[in-house]
């Protein structure tokens, strides 16, 4: 994983120097995951490709905001894809200020040894299985939040529960995902305290 992070850090450096071929390499590494994410949100392949195109152009333009020590290029790219995809489908809601959203995303996209280790070790189908093993209400909350772009308050409204409960479901879901992926490898992902084990009920 460190290697992967190292490759990405070097790519970020080269993209920062204006080397278009480095952006091409980033595309070759992540376009298929980016397209899958965009397609999951927007539902149309043509529109999903437009989203991926916009996202890579945004990373090219804004690369100077990215710092390898403070973030994961892959995680940021995927968030930039998600921001754009969600912006397309939320015509019914206020549009997203994408520049602002991309910058905010930088601060919550790692790098984090726990999740990067899980990503490096688990296959896509294992991660999929871990998601599928979540209780329905937790998986639904994650899907509404991540793939449909709803805030925890909106998830609460949509599912008819208090905001604290929606937030608690997201928290439990991430805890279980971590646990499941930890279990799949037999090795600890990271030394840490267990996170909240019950819904806050707020």
């Amino acid at each position: 994983m460190n290697d992967e992070g190292g490759v990405d850090a070097r790519l970020a450096e080269r993209i920062g120097l204006g080397q278009t071929e480095a952006l091409g390499e980033l595309y070759d590494r992540y376009a298929s995951t980016a397209l899958a994410t965009a397609l999951r949100v927007v539902g149309s392949r043509e529109e999903a490709e437009d989203v991926v195109h916009e996202a890579f152009v945004a990373v090219w333009r804004k690369i100077d905001r990215f710092e390898a020590e403070r973030g994961s290029l892959r995680a940021w790219l995927m968030t930039v894809v998600r921001n754009r995809a969600i912006d397309r489908v939320r015509a019914r809601r206020p549009r997203i200020d994408l520049d602002d959203a991309d910058e905010r995303s930088l601060l919550r996209t790692g790098p984090n040894p726990t999740w990067e280790a899980a990503l490096a070790r688990a296959s896509g189908s294992e991660i999929q299985a871990a998601l599928a093993s979540l209780p329905d209400e937790q998986r639904h909350a994650v899907e509404l939040a991540y793939f449909e772009g709803y805030t925890y308050r909106e998830v609460a409204e949509l599912t008819g529960v208090p905001p604290g409960t929606a937030n608690g479901r997201l928290r439990l879901a991430l805890a279980k995902l971590r646990e499941a992926l930890q279990g799949s490898s037999g090795a600890p992902l990271a030394a840490s305290e267990p996170i909240l084990s019950e819904e806050s009920g707020r």
Binding site: L17, G18, Q19, L23, P111, W115, G124, T151
Partner: protein, 241 residues
């Protein structure tokens, strides 16, 4: 934003499911709080896992070509924002050419020397038809040093002791300013080696001195030819190694 509230919302934050104002407050809190917030930090990055749970989809081959064409025509924000009109800082400080290392990321610049010259050359060949002298220098250069910074990027090429500076798409300057070129020796003293005003297309200038023992090449924005730089460099190259 209290510590308690931040810990409570950490999972929603990690999934990008907190309203923008609250998210900004959480980021600021995490950046400045002296509490460890280990649980919250542990969750950051979790969202990166979710795309991996989807079966990958191969994009159409046309998408890559479209992207590369767009990118080639799209300036990066940090080049667009070249601080060519930035006021000179008033507080007393050591001049940048005496700082070790130089204030710009020389280490990162070195990387470009190994990669990218080939691609850049192709572009250059197309644009430089009328500048035979520069083209010959590129073709026969004994050494090439990557130059980069906020104003753009380029190369210092050395052939038979003569050095030229080449740059593609340098940030344009107001009519009353020019790019001043400097060689900085091992003692940290800058020597003026020319100026550059024409930034249209591929810009180039023959340096007035050999590289000799110079360790750094730098470019500043000045209002005329001066004996010593009056502003921070907008381009630098390490000439060592």
């Amino acid at each position: 934003m209290t510590c308690e509230r931040l810990d409570e919302l950490a999972a929603s934050y990690a999934l990008g499911a907190v309203p923008p104002d609250e998210e900004r407050a959480m980021s600021e809190h995490l950046a400045t709080c002296d509490q460890p917030h280990a649980d919250a930090r542990e969750l950051i990055g979790a969202a990166g896992l979710l795309p991996a749970a989807l079966p990958p989809m191969e994009p159409s081959p046309a998408l890559r070509a479209r992207l590369m064409a767009t990118v080639a025509a799209t300036p990066q924000d940090h080049r667009r924002r070249a601080p060519v009109n930035a006021p000179v800082r008033a507080e007393p400080r050591r001049p940048w050419w005496q700082l070790r290392p130089l204030p710009m990321a020389l280490a990162a610049v070195g990387l470009a020397a190994a990669v990218g010259l080939g691609a850049w050359n192709l572009d250059l060949n197309r644009q430089l038809a009328e500048r035979d002298e520069a083209l010959r220098a590129v073709a026969s250069a004994d050494a090439a040093y990557a130059v980069a910074g906020s104003a753009g990027s380029g190369w210092v090429l050395e052939t038979d002791g003569q050095a030229i500076f080449l740059a593609d798409a340098l940030a344009a300057l107001p009519a009353d300013q020019l790019y001043a070129l400097w060689l900085i020796g091992p003692e940290g003293e800058p020597v003026a080696v020319g100026t550059l005003t024409d930034t249209e297309g591929v810009a180039f200038a023959t340096l007035e001195r050999e590289l000799g023992s110079a360790t750094t090449f730098a470019v500043t924005v000045e209002s005329g030819r001066v004996d010593a730089p009056t502003s921070d460099p907008v381009l630098v190259a390490s000439l060592e190694g």
